[in-house]
Subunit: 368 residues, 2 copies
């Protein structure tokens, strides 16, 4: 069953039950505005990635600032968004299940839906599902620009798949998906610029070869919070798929020339043991703040370091004079915002030290 | 909102939607029976740790085989169990929040509830909450046997806290909590034997000093899946707090002299991309199978290795001749069962290749 909300509007932040997912609304809105302002002169549009926020409420705020729609990775995420009023959703991922494709096609009666493919077999599966549903489904070809996940090679192989889609009676060729995941956290701006220059070149070449075959790309999508400045100004990408920009996290903040966004997402935690000097224990371990991209950082609390996580305990090393009190609550900046959000049923929106709103994480756990 | 069940009873396992949490019922029941058989002659009782399974259904099956109750780490877990009919629950952890203590006291009207403390301030907080509720609360002293988490030092400091509890009008001294977490995954049996010998000695000494002060320990609790054989046969521990034994995971299986349990818990995943030779991509990344204790292992599929996880993708290295098909489903043995279970709303119980039952993960996300 879903967990009950850890707060009510009007409460002080230190009254919020812990662990809780705190959204600093001033910082969050500033991040949304900053991305909209950056993209406006580039011609590229935002299709924000909802695998980060998992929230129809947040998706609609991004769209009110000019985003054309949302990306998701999973069919269950597409459902949560469409049911929450999001009108345009790209599954930026392959779907190799007839049952899941049938769910997407059902959804396409209430929202614009597109999905990716990277092989002939997947395209045949999509055609069969669309035919069975009596509908047409938009399909993008995913090209492998980083070489370590899904995607067909850029160039002729991608063109052959696009032709296959265009020749399928119940499919519509939608364009290219060209996201470079590992570049997002390359630490130096030079590394990222070099990597994405190659990605842009591979993508540009493929777009041109498609055009020579009479196939126009409605969408050329990619780019994340670490690299979007390159894709957006490339003249090749039409859509940017950043997600973390709305929240930031410790891993993105560790990039040199870190993206110009503020920390807006926190896990509020409570000190539950001060039994030993130089040490304290928080009620937020790796179930509350996943550590796949490193430990969280205590926020604006010099002298405290989060040095270890077990399931339900966070270990704090305490320097002289910085000891927290038993029961004290403190904010942590998550190492990685995406899996952290997915641990919670509720955002607690805070402004000026008070709880302003509660928003459901409506696609929480939506992995299918 | 909770995710809908990925299966229905009667389905074949390969019809289950993915990712899904699969419980092999034969292996699971064998594990429960094996633990009951091991403990029967020792005199120590099982108080299984529900932070692993998060399920009242599973808790009651453990109790039908002789477990005296359940451990939890969080108040929300205690609520989910008590509401599901579990009559005896120990919060094997400190609770430093007046609101959470009030919730525990409310719960103590429908179940036997106990909680731990490791300092005078926490004891005062519990006394105040119990007085306000007009009830008595059982409190154990947690002693620090591993030195890296909560707990007061064994010996006189622990005795002083026990006396403080016994002197509090609304508290009842319940005994000692003495769990050594990091010993569970020490790889050699010699390391574990040496470590727990010291733990047992520290605990025995404290029990004896308490007795000299007229304080009897109703509960002396600790021990996990890696070490329970030592605590159970020590003559000092009355209760064993193993949780993972019911499921096993890859991390426990990596112990030399691994505990005598079968793998019963799996994540069923689907191959979503086969675009590149020697490589495949699964629909289960670290959101579906947390990697805090290492990558999951493909089950009974020689030639496949899970070599990398991003949010929603699992990377499979494929040796010659072992290539999986697009859309194929395969089981993964999680690196760490506890956080994996907590990612799902449903257990899919399977026997003989068919879905036999669905059980809710009723304390899923219960972190508060």
């Amino acid at each position: 069953m879903p967990q009950h909300p850890p707060a009510e509007p009007g409460m002080r932040e230190d009254e919020v039950d812990t662990p809780a997912l705190i959204l600093d609304l001033d910082a969050f809105e500033a991040n949304l505005d900053a991305m909209a302002a950056f993209l406006a002169p580039t011609g590229a549009k935002l299709r924000a990635h909802a695998k980060t926020h998992k929230s129809a409420v947040i998706a609609l705020q991004q769209m009110r600032r000019g985003a054309v729609g949302q990306c998701v990775q999973k069919v269950a995420e597409a459902e949560a968004l469409a049911w929450g009023g999001v009108p345009d959703i790209l599954v930026s991922n392959e779907v190799a299940s007839p049952r899941k494709l049938a769910r997407l096609l059902a959804l396409s009666r209430i929202a614009d839906i597109a999905v990716c493919a990277d092989g002939e077999e997947g395209i045949a599966m999509a055609e069969q599902a669309a035919e069975a549903a009596g509908q047409r489904l938009r399909v993008l070809v995913e090209i492998s620009v980083s070489g370590n996940r899904c995607g067909v090679s850029p160039g002729p192989e991608a063109v052959a798949l696009a032709q296959r889609i265009a020749a399928s009676p119940h499919l519509i060729f939608g364009g290219l998906q060209a996201y470079h995941g590992s570049a997002q956290h390359q630490r130096t701006p030079e590394q990222r610029a070099t990597t994405i220059a190659q990605t842009v070149e591979d993508t540009r070449r493929t777009v041109e070869q498609l055009r020579q075959q009479g196939l126009e790309c409605g969408i050329v999508g990619g780019g994340g919070t670490g690299t979007f400045r390159h894709e957006a100004t490339s003249g090749v990408y039409t859509e940017i798929q950043a997600g973390s920009y709305a929240f930031m996290d410790a891993d993105y903040a560790a990039n040199e020339d870190a993206p110009p966004f503020r920390h807006a997402l926190f896990v509020l935690s409570q000190v539950m043991s001060t039994a030993r000097a130089g040490f304290a224990v928080l009620d937020a371990g790796h179930k509350a703040v996943p550590t796949d991209s490193g430990f969280p950082k205590p926020w604006q609390r010099p002298g405290l370091d989060y040095t270890g996580a077990s399931d339900e305990h966070g270990q704090l090393a305490v320097r002289d004079g910085a000891a927290p009190k038993l029961g004290e609550k403190l904010r942590l900046v998550p190492g990685h915002c995406d899996p952290t959000v997915d641990r919670y049923d509720w955002y607690v929106g805070v402004r000026g030290g008070r709880v302003e709103c509660l928003w459901p994480v409506s696609a929480r756990g939506g992995m299918q």
